[in-house]
């Protein structure tokens, strides 16, 4: 599986060992949640206490085997927990925190009007999500951080920009007071490349790669983030040599639409396309992307996720 992925083991491509916050984003459908789940699982297998976070209704908790994820961390393994941040209920928590009478807070939250006003307040949901995240990072038990690593399955590209940009966008509005202080801390946290990594995940296909390049630019130039190399998920292996391909073309001339040959040509075309897309991505971000293998059985089942976790662990230099 890792035939094309040799690298010196002292220099892992996925720098996961010392991070405290990992944010995984990318276009919908590229396997963002699977990669987030595999990152979390790989770090947990390495003995780190990991919290996997999904925002809104995502695929992460399901992948980790949690049917009904809640607002409090649910253990899913020896050192792995899973939690959901729902921006709407986060709003509820804020209101409950501010209003001493529960009944009053509930009444307010049920009101359509309040929901509209809250939705119109720019950046409020993002603020609330960041607030929860930072609480998870700050949580302590017996003087040690409760979670060594927080892995976030962030919203798809279009929505992750407002989330990551919230501290600056909102900081411009709130200049003083506790809100401003928090925003300053959140911004510093997101910009600290030693502890925070924002990973853009893509598949080696044209549209996702294009979106990954745009997101990379926006995060780097507009938000000034230092980004690790993007992750290319579902990279097809190169099975057929050039000579094989010649033989396949020749056989196809005789055998016509033999399913083996149609399949082989499909795979070769996919592989060629994938190599080209990686080249485009590489030249746009000026970093060699990290590759994760294509798994024909998918990552929706335990087996597939285990395979992906092993691939992540290899790229992170774990267990070597």
């Amino acid at each position: 599986m890792s035939r094309g992925n040799h690298r010196p083991s002292g220099d892992p491509k996925l720098r996961l060992a010392r991070q405290r916050l990992v944010i995984v984003t990318g276009k919908g459908g590229v396997g963002k949640s699977s990669v987030a789940a595999a990152l979390a699982q790989a770090a947990a297998d390495e003995g780190r206490r990991v919290l996997a976070v999904e925002i809104g209704r995502g695929g992460l908790s399901r992948l980790l085997g949690v049917e009904e994820p809640g607002p409090d961390p649910t253990p899913v393994g020896r050192s792995l927990s899973c939690v959901t941040i729902d921006p709407e209920s986060a709003l509820g928590e804020m209101v409950h925190g501010m209003m001493p009478l529960g009944v009053m807070a509930r009444r307010l939250l049920q009101s359509t009007t309040f929901q509209i006003v809250a939705a119109a307040a720019p950046g409020l949901p993002e603020y609330l999500v960041l607030h929860r995240l930072s609480a998870f990072l700050d949580a302590k038990r017996l003087g040690r951080p409760r979670h060594d690593l927080v892995v976030v399955d962030a919203p798809a590209s279009g929505h992750s920009l407002p989330l990551l940009g919230a501290p600056r966008a909102l900081g411009a509005l709130a200049r003083f007071g506790p809100v401003a202080d928090f925003l300053g801390r959140a911004d510093a946290m997101l910009h600290d490349a030693a502890t925070t990594a924002v990973w853009i995940v893509t598949t080696p296909e044209e549209l996702p790669v294009r979106e990954a390049i745009e997101l990379h630019q926006a995060l780097r130039e507009d938000l000034g983030l230092t980004l690790p190399p993007p992750i290319v998920n579902a990279f097809p292996r190169r099975r057929f040599t050039s000579r094989d391909q010649g033989a396949i073309a020749e056989a196809a001339a005789h055998a016509g639409a033999h399913p083996y040959l149609v399949g082989a040509r499909l795979e070769v075309a996919r592989q060629r396309d994938a190599v080209e897309q990686i080249r485009l991505l590489r030249s746009a971000v000026r970093r060699a992307p990290v590759r994760l293998p294509y798994l024909p059985g998918g990552t929706g089942e335990a087996r597939g996720l285990t395979d992906l976790t092993h691939a992540v662990a290899r790229q992170a230099g774990f267990g070597t």
């Binding site: 919908g28 307010l108 006003v117 950046g123 549209l207 005789h254 399913p259």
Partner: protein
């Protein structure tokens, strides 16, 4: 119902589905095919990747109608980008009693935020744009690439929700937000709410309470016209003239989202015309029912083994795709209209779009002879 029938007889085709399923491209390819078959077609798109203009052979793609160079023929295709803000602005100008009223609303800072947030107004404005195109005598077929919405049903539900909002007490309450609380008489409650709203104001930098009141006062002047319009639009969406097509890809998360969407649409009484699956491996070759023919004769044994491995993996992938799609088709209660194989799903030229059309409309490939301008 087949895709051929839809593009021959319907007035509106809405492509719905989550982001990342190739909805924009599918909508464009269907629109191209309809135009080639002689319908005067418009495609309203959101084009998140801003690549469609190249694919369509257009120098620009914006909210103005641009003619796609398909060559001479009875039909034509105009493409335009959905611009939510602008549509809302135009609607306000049209419905406002006076130009001053319109400008007062448009200048309100809350309006500027709300035009994005107000009860799914983005979705409503998309629907409103569709309505305008349908009313436009230049078109008899409108293909819509719906905005990728977190809950895609918001798009179709937008008129109803906007009506419900207009009819609710919400507008009155917005004028005086403290009246939400039960104890309107309770000074404590009012005080608390005021302090909460003040907190939100401090945080957002918007004079929320004041601007909300101003906004509501202004927009109330146009609710009458808005109500009539919204009712018309809702009627169009639910009518026989509109076909809803679910676009999806065989990925567990995407089909789960699409399945939820199908269930919600069904619950709202909106019928799904059919399902288009992008990036689907051909079941005839790799499906469970397809036989394993063994390596073709005459290939070297080493290559034969690799071919067999490759075939086995494609079968695994196809089985996974079929398992993934089955529940969606069951919930949608609608036929599979087309399966588009991988690679064909992402054309980059007009010729590529027409090739994609060949996968979407396998039964009638004859129209692909018309010469395309590049």
């Amino acid at each position: 119902m087949t895709l051929d029938e839809i593009i021959a007889s319907r007035r509106v085709l809405l492509c719905v589905g989550s982001g990342g399923v190739g909805k924009t491209t599918t909508a464009a390819a269907i629109a191209v095919e309809a135009a080639l078959r002689g319908r005067r077609t418009a495609v309203l798109t959101v084009d998140p990747s801003r690549r469609l203009k190249d694919t369509l052979g257009l120098g620009r793609l914006d909210e103005r109608a641009r003619r796609v160079p398909l060559g001479a023929g009875p039909g034509h295709l105009d493409a335009m980008l959905l611009d939510v803000k602008r549509t809302f602005d135009e609607l306000v100008r049209e419905l406002a009693a006076s130009a001053e009223d319109a400008e007062r609303i448009l200048g309100n800072r809350l309006y500027q935020n709300l035009s994005g947030a107000l009860v799914g107004s983005a979705e409503y404005m998309a629907v409103e744009s569709v309505y305008r195109l349908v009313e436009d005598a230049a078109y008899d077929f409108v293909v819509v690439d719906t905005p990728p919405s977190r809950h895609a049903v918001d798009f179709l539900d937008a008129p109803r929700r906007l009506l419900a909002f207009l009819d609710s007490r919400a507008l009155a309450v917005l004028k005086n937000p403290t009246s939400i609380l039960p104890g309107a008489t309770s000074r404590l409650a009012q005080l608390l709410l005021s302090s909460l709203l003040a907190g939100v104001e401090r945080f957002t930098g918007i004079g929320l309470v004041r601007e909300v009141s101003e906004f509501v006062a202004a927009i109330e002047s146009l609710t009458g016209g808005l109500r009539t319009r919204v009712a018309h639009v809702a009627e169009l969406l639910g009518s026989e003239a509109t076909a809803l097509v679910l676009v999806t890809a065989p990925d567990a998360r995407l089909t789960r989202d699409t399945r939820d969407l199908a269930a919600t649409l069904g619950a709202r009484g909106l019928r799904i015309g059919g399902v288009i699956v992008n990036r689907a491996l051909p079941a005839a070759l790799f499906g469970a029912a397809a036989p394993d023919p063994g390596p073709p004769v005459g290939v070297p044994p080493g290559l034969g083994t690799r071919l067999a491995e490759c075939f086995a993996e494609l079968r695994t992938e196809t089985r996974r795709q079929e398992t993934t799609l089955a529940p969606l088709l069951a919930v949608a209660g609608a036929p599979l209209l087309a399966s588009v194989p991988p690679l064909a799903s992402t054309p980059v030229t007009l010729a590529g779009l027409r090739e994609l059309g060949g996968h979407l409309f396998p039964s009638e490939p004859a129209t692909r002879t018309r010469s395309a301008g590049r």
